[in-house]
């Protein structure tokens, strides 16, 4: 069993793959150039340690860096950590840091910053790192200026997936130590180690990043400037691309129907890659506390009644893939050895009849994220009415949705959640009974509770080997696909549309979020 992974070995593998790629493309990156990118909506702030909204990550992921980055297969790659070792008992992680790394203000980056970030800053403020560090980590210590040791309480397989830039961005100790983190004036002028520095943020208009001349990775970045353009209207964003005002439309920034049209424009490339770390999984949550929705047969009937192919092909313009269960096929530990559901209204009618459904009206809470979601609600309502289930759609705004979802005020609720690279981080939270709590729309809001599932998820998170984890996750997927605590609808694809002369844009599992380090313009 391999318990030791070195950055060196991975870099060799990476070098080999680049060599193979280079033979086909045979192009030397060109230096210089400016790229205009759409960011939607405007980020609330760029201090990534304090805010991890989608748009914040897109911009700030190029300002800040973390110990590791992840390729499209979600294999860890060296970033601020040059190499790392995992002890044979899988409890001690030793990270060796890059030499000569400087913060944007010129101060050196050392092990002190790493310890401060992971042990103090993020433990205090980061909603995803906090539970991990509190439950799994025994201590984080500096060995020397370029070495950090993390000791775990027990083996925790997903540990190696926790160092993505939005999950654990490195924060400068000399600026934040001993201050009130949230009130620190430096939050407006983020200081990272990344390939780009913030030059100007004109609120409501653009965010201007410029090349970090002292970047530790010699010869990078290739680009001189990035402008993140803020354009509030979807149609206007599409027009901005057509007229040449922007070069990159990030995932989800234009209407799904515009994707096909824009992709056909000359010198235009489209990719759905760069979202592997997030692997957004869309579903309907039945509130199992509410009458008939607690009945497994009824939920199975709903699943057979919904034409999920139609949702994918017509509503989402053919983007995405039908999921089989709780774990995205893009994520590790996926298994397709589960009960499967096809579009079968006849079978749906049988199951719904057998469940004892008496014509109660089911309220369907629509996700207020734009027209596409409304169309999806309407088509699913029609599907369900075809098999005799009465449905009433409820529309609300984003705060209204958040409130209703967080407080369990729904019968069926649309949602989509990120998988975050490992089922222990992105999947378990929606199904385990310890996460049934009001106040968070991304908790287990449907109220499904099954001790067997709780135990399987808990064991799988800390099982020492990937093989054992896979066995447990395969089992839990089988159970959940039969019980249907939520009705999985789509593994969503968010296409990035860009001019083909912007090269190497999407090379990692988080796409443009940290992709500008290697991008260049022809």
């Amino acid at each position: 069993m391999m318990a030791r992974v070195t950055g060196l070995r991975l870099s060799l593998a990476l070098a080999a793959s680049i060599f193979a790629l280079g033979a086909a493309v045979a192009q030397e990156p060109k230096k210089g150039g400016t790229v205009h990118v759409v960011v939607q909506p405007e980020p609330p702030m760029l201090m990534q340690g304090l805010n991890q909204n989608g748009p914040t990550n897109m911009v700030a992921g190029n300002i800040y860096e973390s110990l590791l980055r992840y390729n499209e297969k979600l294999e860890p790659q060296p970033s601020l950590a040059k190499s790392w070792e995992i002890s044979p008992d899988a409890k001690v992680y030793t990270f060796k840091l890059q030499e000569g790394v400087k913060w944007h203000d010129g101060k050196p980056f050392t092990a002190d910053d790493v310890v401060f970030t992971l042990d103090k800053f993020l433990r205090d403020v980061h909603p995803r790192w906090r539970p991990i560090v509190n439950a799994q980590v025994e201590k984080i210590e500096k060995v020397d200026d370029l070495t950090v040791k993390i000791t775990l309480k027990q083996p925790f397989g997903p540990m190696v997936m926790t160092q993505e830039v939005a999950s654990a961005p490195m924060i400068p100790k000399h600026i934040y130590d001993g201050t009130d983190y949230r009130a620190n004036p430096a939050n407006n002028t983020p200081i990272g180690t990344g390939p780009f520095k913030l030059k100007e943020w004109k609120k409501g208009s653009y965010i201007h990043l410029v090349k970090n001349e002292d970047y530790w990775l010699k010869g990078k970045p290739n680009l001189d400037e990035i402008y993140w353009q803020i354009i509030p209207d979807a149609a206007a964003r599409a027009v901005a691309y057509e007229t040449g005002k922007v070069d990159v439309l990030t995932g989800g920034s234009v209407d799904v129907y515009d994707v096909a049209r824009l992709s056909k424009l000359p010198n235009t490339c489209m990719t759905t890659k760069g979202w592997e770390m997030f692997a957004p999984h869309a579903w309907l949550t039945p509130n199992v506390r509410n009458g008939i929705l607690g009945n497994k047969q009824f939920r199975q009937g709903l699943m057979y009644a919904i034409d999920r192919e139609f949702g994918k092909d017509v509503v989402w313009g053919g983007l995405g893939k039908l999921p089989t269960g709780p774990i995205s096929s893009k994520t590790k530990f996926y298994s397709d050895d589960v009960p499967k559901y096809t579009y079968d209204p006849a079978k749906a009618k049988e199951l719904i009849k057998a469940s004892g459904y008496k014509g109660e009206t089911i309220r369907l809470l629509n996700l207020p994220y734009g027209e596409t979601w409304s169309r999806w609600s309407e088509s699913i309502k029609q599907n369900l009415e075809d098999v005799g289930v009465k449905v009433q759609i409820e529309n609300t705004d984003v705060p209204g949705w958040t409130q209703k979802a967080s407080n369990w005020d729904f019968d069926l609720n649309f949602n989509f959640l990120y998988q975050l690279g490992d089922p222990a981080m992105g999947v378990a939270r929606s199904y385990i009974s310890s996460n049934i709590a009001k106040g968070n729309p991304f908790a287990n809001v449907g109220g499904y509770s099954n001790p067997e599932v709780d135990k399987l998820f808990a064991d799988a998170a800390i099982a020492p080997t990937d093989k054992e984890r896979q066995e447990l996750y395969t089992k839990v997927q089988k159970v959940l696909a039969d019980e249907l605590p939520v009705l999985w609808l789509l593994e969503m694809d968010f296409p990035t549309i860009y001019r083909c002369n912007v090269k190497n844009l999407v090379t990692t599992g988080v796409g443009v979020n940290d992709g500008f380090r290697d991008a260049w313009k022809e």
Partner: protein, 278 residues
């Protein structure tokens, strides 16, 4: 010449009535013409109009039949127009009547109250009401009614002010009829003509208001209304113009017809004006 002018004016009203009857006929016949739900996808999405005779007006983004949506939408739009106008009348008529008949302090108080509603931009108030009460049929009808009653109250008050000095009203007072009885049996019946005219015009603006709300996504998501259809197609205006165009045109025609018919009614029901023309 005079005759021709009069005829032209009447012809407008006649055309209006004809259009209106056609719309009402479609609304009544909707379940017979298109028994399937207008929400059901029936063909390829974005099918152009006038190509396939089963779908004469084409299909929308999900492949739903636009013609079916249009006739079912006629029911929703007309129904909301009429019911919310009734709501406005139910609020406005008694208020105006009481204000006009009582006069003095009561009149002042009620009119200031009316002005309070008139100073708030009606569309903004409707949006706020619907957003607070959740977008559903009842709240939309209520919101439209609440923003449309002030002109009714002012009209009725004006009429009552002039009617209450008439001799037959004085006579009723003298023989000791109770005030409510005088208002409802002597005064109000004589204000019906202008109320009918105003009501017919208000149905048109109620339909427009509902369409605007639906366009902004504040319609009842369970009802296929014309405004919803325009809103749902607006992002596709460049490559699938028909999705928004036909329902938009239906709104235009119906509101126009209601206005024309209202004008005609005004002519017919206003004896002074009618006498002046002879």
């Amino acid at each position: 010449m005079n005759f021709l002018k009069r005829f032209a004016r009447n012809r407008g009203a006649v055309i209006g009535i004809l259009i209106l009857l056609t719309v009402i006929a479609f609304a009544i016949l909707a379940p017979t013409l298109y028994p399937q739900s207008p929400w059901r996808p029936v063909a390829r999405p974005f099918l152009a109009p006038f190509v396939n005779e089963r779908f004469p007006l084409g299909t929308d983004t999900l492949g739903r039949n636009l013609a079916a949506g249009l006739v079912h939408g006629a029911r929703v739009s007309l129904m909301i127009g009429i019911v919310s106008t009734l709501v406005a009348l139910v609020i406005g008529v008694p208020l105006g009547a009481v204000a006009g008949y009582a006069g003095g302090f009561v009149d002042d108080a009620l009119m200031r109250f009316t002005e309070f509603f008139q100073t708030i931009p009606s569309f903004a108030l409707a949006i706020v009401l619907v957003a607070i009460l959740q977008p559903q049929l009842g709240s939309i009808v209520l919101a439209i009614g609440v923003v449309s009653w002030p002109p009714v109250a002012r009209l009725v008050r004006g009429e009552v002010l002039s009617l209450k000095t008439r001799e037959y009203v004085q006579a009723a007072v003298t023989i000791g009829q109770s005030t409510p009885r005088i208002i409802f049996s002597q005064v109000l019946p004589n204000t019906i003509a202008p109320i009918i005219v105003m009501g017919s015009l208000m149905i048109g603006s109620a339909i427009l208001l509902e369409s605007s709300l639906s366009f902004l996504g504040l319609g009842d998501p369970n009802l296929m209304s014309w405004g919803y259809m325009v809103g749902a197609g607006r992002t596709r205006l460049l490559d699938a113009w028909w999705i928004s165009f036909f329902p938009g045109f239906a709104i235009f025609l119906t509101v126009l017809a209601l206005n024309l018919a209202g004008e005609g009614l005004n002519d017919a029901l206003n004896p002074r004006l009618a006498r002046g023309r002879e």
